[in-house]
Amino acid sequence: MGGIGQMMALYSRLAKASIRARMQYKANFILTVLMDAALFAMDFLLIAAILYRFDSIGGWSVFEIGLLYGTASMARGVYRTFGYELHRFESYIAEGHFDTLMVRPWPTLLVLLTRNLDPGRLGVAAQGGLVLGISCHALLKAGALSGGAMVYIWTLPLWGAAIFFAISLATSASAFWLTRIADLQVFTMYAPMTAASYPLGIYPASLRALLHTALPVAFAGYVPIRFLLGKGGSAFDLVTPVLVAMAALYVSYWFWRLGESGYQSTGS
């Protein structure tokens, strides 16, 4: 389908243009990226500081948590980079810009995504990659992880980003009815993305259940990694990230289209 190739070309053009525009204020851009990354790195260092004094958190050691933390950070960074405009969808409904998306010969979601990127967020992804890399190295050396497991783990951020994206898509689609969704996003995005960085086993049952169902971030890292570390679960857990990502995207996109056709009948 020529469409996909065209979309990729468009996207890479957008990426280059976005970066060029931001590099106009080079010093500030770099500083902001570094600070953003530092903020996230700091969260992990705090866990490391806790584990400096205490043995484990829920039976997970510092590098084991590093696997969770790293994959979640990478997924988060990738999602925030490419899903930038989706994350800010609220203004399209509140200020009536959604019309401009509808006059293009493409699905509105695609038009939305190609309006902007936030390459600065890749700093968070890079920081996550660093944490993940260090943790993998340490666990490999200690024999707790096989090489194959390590390769598999590096593919997780892609599915994690897809799951975050799906949750964001459903949340943003709610804007068709609620208009303002910034507060909802704290519930559906910020809190779960943070919670996914640590072993879900330590959370109260209700929170755990939520993160395995309506906001399935558990499958972005925790579920497969728990199995790979021999802490529970089954081999099936290794395919759950893909399955959950696909299902979540399907459902969310259906919800988006529902909101879109509602918009077309009521106009706002």
Binding site: A9, L10, A17, A21, M102, P105, G267
Partner: protein, 338 residues
């Protein structure tokens, strides 16, 4: 994605059949839990934004869609573009329904919203054009030809490197119109494109639109500025309260209501008696007492008397200090239409 040509059937490019659009305006609740209260109370009143409108537009036509605010103009354009679904009725653009085939119709459509830009806000203008070219599958040759054309007619060249957010309203409008025409669509919709612009900018844009139409593009322009219509459209559709109250050529509209222009002249001293003016086709307007005894206001039909002739005639009555020309507001005009 190829550029699909639409086949206009029997000389009709745009066809609207018995269009109706009903909005339900829900009762609003104030206070902290307004949104929750609204969910439980479904009282709503019916608003017919578009009430049985039908028309046919031939290829190459330049049609003006006029009406006061809230008359249903924007709603109609949105339905034509596939943004809104009509409550009843049908639309065909080049024989294709924008409701059923939004994306296919969109390939052949250029849309300009007066209040909102479609350009990429943080990027230089040229990037928007390149992105749009990629999006619509415009090859390099056609792209360069289009850019050259836009520079000659709209002066786009000087704007290319400026980030969109730094453009003035007039500049942004020029850039937006060029963007809408980049893929050379056979149909162009403009929703209030000259709103808020100064006279020079309006002029620039109007001459460009004339060029565009001369090349064969079908243009539908909504506005509530009558001079836009005078300058550009051969055909006018007047809409009020969701109904089409006039559909015909501009001359016919002029004949029905005369399209009177008002000219106010301030003299250095009280002018001579204006009785002679009525014989020449002027109508003295009495209501302007506030300007004082040194000024005189007349109404006349610009189709019969040019502005310079009018000023000359009024100059006979005394030494002119200042001249003001006002166009009739659309509301006044419409009142005369009933």
């Amino acid at each position: 994605m190829e550029y699909l040509a639409l086949e206009p059937r029997s000389q009709v490019m745009i066809e609207a059949k018995n269009l109706v659009k009903i909005f339900f305006v829900a009762k609003r609740f104030n206070g902290s839990f307004g949104a929750v209260k609204a969910l439980f109370n479904r009282e709503a009143r019916e608003v017919r934004a578009v009430d049985d409108i039908s028309f046919k537009i031939a290829p190459g036509d330049f049609v003006g869609y006029v009406g006061p605010n809230g008359a249903g103009k924007s709603t109609t354009i949105k339905m034509l573009a596939g943004i809104l679904h009509p409550s009843d009725g049908e639309i065909l653009i080049g024989g294709v329904s924008p409701q059923r085939h939004r994306r296919q119709v969109a390939k052949n459509l250029g849309v300009v919203f007066g209040q909102r830009t479609q350009l990429w806000w943080d990027l230089p203008v040229v990037e928007s054009y390149e992105l749009l070219a990629a999006m619509y599958g415009v090859d390099r040759e056609r792209y360069l030809a289009a850019m050259k054309r836009f520079d000659e007619l709209l002066g786009i060249g000087e704007l290319l490197d400026v980030p969109v957010r730094k453009l003035s309203l007039g500049q942004r409008m020029r850039a937006d119109i060029a963007a809408a025409l980049l893929h050379d669509p056979p149909v162009l919709f403009l929703d209030e494109p000259t709103i808020g612009l100064d006279v020079v900018a309006k002029d620039h844009i109007r001459s460009f639109l004339r060029e565009v139409n001369a090349r064969g593009t079908t243009v539908l322009l909504t506005t509530h500025d009558l001079s836009d219509i005078e300058e550009l459209c051969r055909r006018v559709m007047v809409v009020n309260h969701g109904k089409l109250v006039f559909d015909g050529c501009l001359d016919a509209l002029r004949a029905e209501i005369g399209v009177p222009t008002q000219l106010t002249v301030d003299y250095t001293q009280p002018p001579a008696n204006g009785e002679t003016l009525s014989g020449l086709g002027f109508q003295v307007v009495d209501g302007d007492r506030a300007r004082g005894p040194n000024s005189l206001t007349v109404a006349f039909d610009r189709a019969l008397i040019s502005a310079s002739d009018a000023i000359k005639a009024l100059g006979e009555l005394g030494e002119i200090k200042d001249v003001h020309l006002t166009e009739p507001a659309i509301e006044q005009m419409l009142k005369q239409l009933y």
